[in-house]
């Protein structure tokens, strides 16, 4: 016979105002197996907890039901109290009399009856509870940071400075990401490269950071604290140890007319190239799709001029493997380009460009060396129109979200343009000015009031070219939707921020969920913004949603703090409320028949195959086994299991049926 204690809490008046707590305690005291039943004003207070502890000791309780608030609120409190009195904490359950009863019902007999029912079913459950023990898993104290933009850089440096090893993987030949392409940054107008490049160098020189550029994650296996990452180092076609980064090969390469990705295709690069002079590492790669040797079989000029004979045309990709404890995903975003805007003529008119391209025109390291010249004929544009929300907040275009950064960078663009072309005129078409942030609204006001940028509230319907001018047609909604037509020399579209190429494939490799726009999804939008639903995989920066630099950096440091906390112990302790495939005596071994439906159902790849063999090594049976490090206790496998061989610990079939049977008894 069980010896269960029931502790009914008044929660001040939260429960006792509508539930007769005294009667609940009295009735529940008569349930078979209950040996102790009392009510008290604040069960979570110190005296309340003492009452539980004393009762466990004095009445030798083997189960506790606390009838109070939600277990979300105080389950850890009461379980700790039980543990202190020597009772396994998982033998303590909570009946939620507050959220499930007193708060949602009027005072009355039926309310008290419902409260009694809630306690009764929990008493039956506790009778079937078993002691459970936390799961411990070892931790490999190395973090994998995917993406070498500002978010990845910040996260990697913070983790490395906390004393842990970091493996950084960047897809492009250099780290730096989009921030390295920017001219000046809002709201302080400090030079992007000037604040970024020292950080890039720090990453390269940090003793705790191993940097793989021109590399991609091939696969990730394992679970929190115990991942195994396979990384593909794409061939740079040169021996990095021999290359000194002198750059002779890039100046001699005869293939000089390839659109430069770094300059957003406004400039050109060679087939063997370093993306930009401040690149880290400052070692070139051969772009095999454009290199004359790879396409036509001859040239090899770079090989001839290289003073250290570092060129390796036959170099193959290399796969490296690392043991990893945590993953930081900081793979960034992209801006919408191509012919997504036929009405704006992007891609058709050379002088209709994206915001990122305008950054390159403004940048001192850009194709015009920072001089304000338009792409078509190199003339200084006298009239520039900026179109905010090009694609964003447009359901018809399939992008209903706000890209967040455009209001600010458009104000910055207009301002920087006015600083370079004093007599020029800048127009901004906008829907709303969303400038929430420290010094942000002041910044946009400055553009309007001090730099005299014309802000027109309305959308642009169409842009077309006539006699060398770009005709921008729009409406001014503050002037009764009056049609506006501006003859511009240059149009800059603040195109929507979208998920990076390959985001979907990467999410599938990492088992991280992603939304309809292929942005990665956090575990909780407010309270767990840097975690994913896969334990040990964290998010930083614009791979989650469009973000500006301060926000990306803040989130990256947050991610680093999570990783450092994970690495602060040698072993991880996890709640044991996970799935278990039953085991029993031979000759059955388990009721599992090895159909592995559960394996296909599990969202976390936590189901493994276990082979049961006899002493001579002969295979008797293959059954499912749950990896306790990976299982998140979601219960999907339980629902799928045809032979009912899987149970969630703490929520077994036996326990749940006991509750249901009691309710209908």
């Amino acid at each position: 016979m069980s010896r269960i204690g029931v502790f009914v809490c008044h929660c001040g008046e939260n429960i006792s105002a509508t539930v007769d707590c005294g009667r609940v305690a009295e009735v529940c005291g008569k349930i078979p197996g209950v040996v102790h039943s009392i009510d008290y004003k604040y069960m979570c207070s110190d005296p309340g907890q003492s009452m539980i502890r004393e009762a466990i000791r004095e009445k030798r309780l083997d189960g506790v039901v606390v009838a109070s608030c939600s277990p979300r609120m105080h389950e850890p409190t009461f379980r700790r109290a039980c543990e202190e009195a020597g009772l396994n904490p998982y033998l303590c359950e909570m009946a939620n009399l507050r959220e499930h009863c007193s708060w949602v019902h009027e005072k009355g007999e039926a309310t008290t009856e419902k409260a009694i029912d809630l306690v009764r079913i929990l008493v039956e459950k506790v009778k079937h509870n078993h002691p459970l023990f936390p799961i411990k898993v070892p931790v490999t104290k190395t973090a994998l940071v995917l993406g070498g933009g500002i978010a990845g850089i910040q996260s990697a440096l913070d983790i490395a400075n906390a004393g842990h090893k970091v493996i950084m993987v960047e897809r492009e030949p250099s780290i730096g990401g989009h921030m390295s392409q920017l001219s000046e940054t809002f709201p302080t107008l400090d030079c992007s490269q000037c604040i970024l490049t020292p950080r890039m160098v720090e990453v390269a020189q940090h003793p705790n950071i191993t940097l793989y550029t021109y590399a991609e994650l091939e696969s990730l296996d394992g679970f929190i604290g115990n991942f195994k990452a396979r990384i593909r180092k794409k061939s740079r076609s040169l021996d990095e140890k021999l290359c000194t980064g002198c750059g002779l090969c890039t100046t001699k390469c005869p293939n000089k007319r390839i659109p430069s990705e770094f300059n957003a295709r406004l400039g050109q690069r060679t087939a063997i190239y370093v993306p930009f002079p401040q690149a880290v590492p400052n070692k070139p790669v051969i772009d095999r799709t454009h290199c004359t040797y790879y396409t036509k079989g001859k040239c090899r000029v770079c090989e001839k001029v290289c003073p250290t004979q570092a060129i390796r045309f036959d170099q193959a990709d290399e796969i490296v493997e690392h043991e990893i404890g945590a993953v930081v995903v900081a793979t960034g975003f992209n801006v919408k380009e191509s012919d997504f805007f036929p009405e704006y003529g992007y891609g058709r008119y050379k002088d209709v460009i994206s915001g990122l391209q305008f950054e390159r025109l403004l940048s001192a390291s850009g194709p015009t060396l920072g001089e304000m010249k338009r792409p078509s004929d190199g003339k200084t544009p006298e009239k520039v129109v900026f179109v905010a929300c090009a694609g964003s907040r447009d359901k018809a275009k399939g992008i209903e979200y706000c890209s967040k950064i455009c209001c600010m960078y458009t104000a910055k663009h207009a301002m920087l343009y006015k600083h370079k072309v004093h007599h020029g005129e800048a127009y901004v078409f906008y829907m709303d000015i969303r400038a929430a942030g420290k010094m942000y609204d002041e910044f946009t006001r400055r553009a309007i009031e001090e730099d005299h940028v014309h802000y027109i509230r309305g959308r642009v319907s169409r842009i077309y070219e006539r006699n060398g001018k770009l005709i921008v047609q729009g409406a001014d909604t503050l002037l009764n939707a009056m049609p506006v037509e501006i003859e511009a020399d240059l149009v800059v579209l603040a195109t929507a921020g979208v998920a990076n190429e390959g985001a979907e494939a990467l999410a599938q490799k990492l088992h991280v969920s992603y939304d309809a726009h292929k942005f990665f999804v956090e575990a909780h939008p407010k309270l767990r913004p840097v975690e994913t639903n896969t334990a040990g995989v964290f998010l930083a920066g614009a791979c989650q949603a469009p973000k500006d630099i301060p926000e990306s950096v803040g989130q990256a440091s947050g991610t680093a703090a999570k990783v450092a906390a994970l690495f602060s112990k040698d072993e991880l302790t996890r709640e044991p409320l996970i799935a278990m495939v039953n085991r029993c005596a031979p000759p059955l071994y388990s009721t599992c028949v090895g159909c592995f439906l559960c394996q296909s159902a599990c969202p976390y790849q936590a189901i493994e195959r276990e082979e049961i063999r006899d002493r001579s090594g002969k295979l008797i049976k293959t059954v499912a086994r749950v990896n306790p490090g990976l299982c998140q206790g979601c219960g999907t496998c339980v629902a799928f299991c045809r032979s009912k061989s899987i149970d969630i610990q703490g929520y077994t079939h036996e326990q749940v049926y006991a509750e249901v049977m009691e309710l209908f008894a």
Partner: protein, 298 residues
Amino acid sequence: MKMGYFPGCSMGGSSREYGESLLAIAPELDLQLEEIHDWNCCGASAAHNLNKKLSLALPARNLGLAGQQQLEELLVPCAACFSRLAGARHELHQDEALRHEIEGVIELPLEQMPRSLNILDVLQKVFPQELNGRLRHPFAHKVACYYGCLLVRPPAIAQFDRPEDPQVMDQIMQRIGAEPIDWAFKTECCGAGMSIPRTDLVGALCAKILEDAVSRGAEAIIVACPMCHSNLDMRRSAINKAAGKTYDIPVLYITQAIGLALGLPPKKLGLHRHIVPVRLPERAATPVLEPVSAQEES
């Protein structure tokens, strides 16, 4: 290819030449058109402003009749008719209760409503890949392809081409030897139904369209909608008045241009019915460019 045909009022009336030229080129393109028996007005211009049920029942009856004739696809050359028929089908598919109600009104079942296709959609389907020999007089002119509003909008219903910068008419015209210009007013409003109450407004709107086409060197404007044609052609004096100058650029239906390229007599194509005479600059026929794929193969 065989398909249903809904002429609507304009094919025999205000845009008789559109109907004539369509029926003239159809056999050349192996297109067999089966007219809906006892068809009625589609309800365009007026019904949808007056009575919602009427605006659905009118096109629905035509769809119901076509369904009875076992027609799966329906060519609707008039852009306004196309908009009404496609719109009604869309709406009645969305709302089953409404469909039953309309079925009661027209006393016809509407389980099988054929899909309406506009003229460009059909031409794109039936135009033969190999034009060698059949193209007797390549239409070697610079043309402004004018789509107007109803062929591509609303995108969810029309489900045709890129709504902001359509391409299909340009591609078809290219295949008969024309050189479509890149211009800005492909889908600009011509004034449509304002032709009668506000001719001055139509004049001003159409003047913008003609000015852009002419200034970019177009020798003809190609249309696929009776309303566009009547505004750009019949209202030319109002346009000239609004612009303060005289435009003599002719406006041709795409079916007429194809007919000329196939060597059909102008009279059979109804070219004599236009208000603005169809005078195109004489030009030595330039060899027609083969489709890109054919070039690659050779």
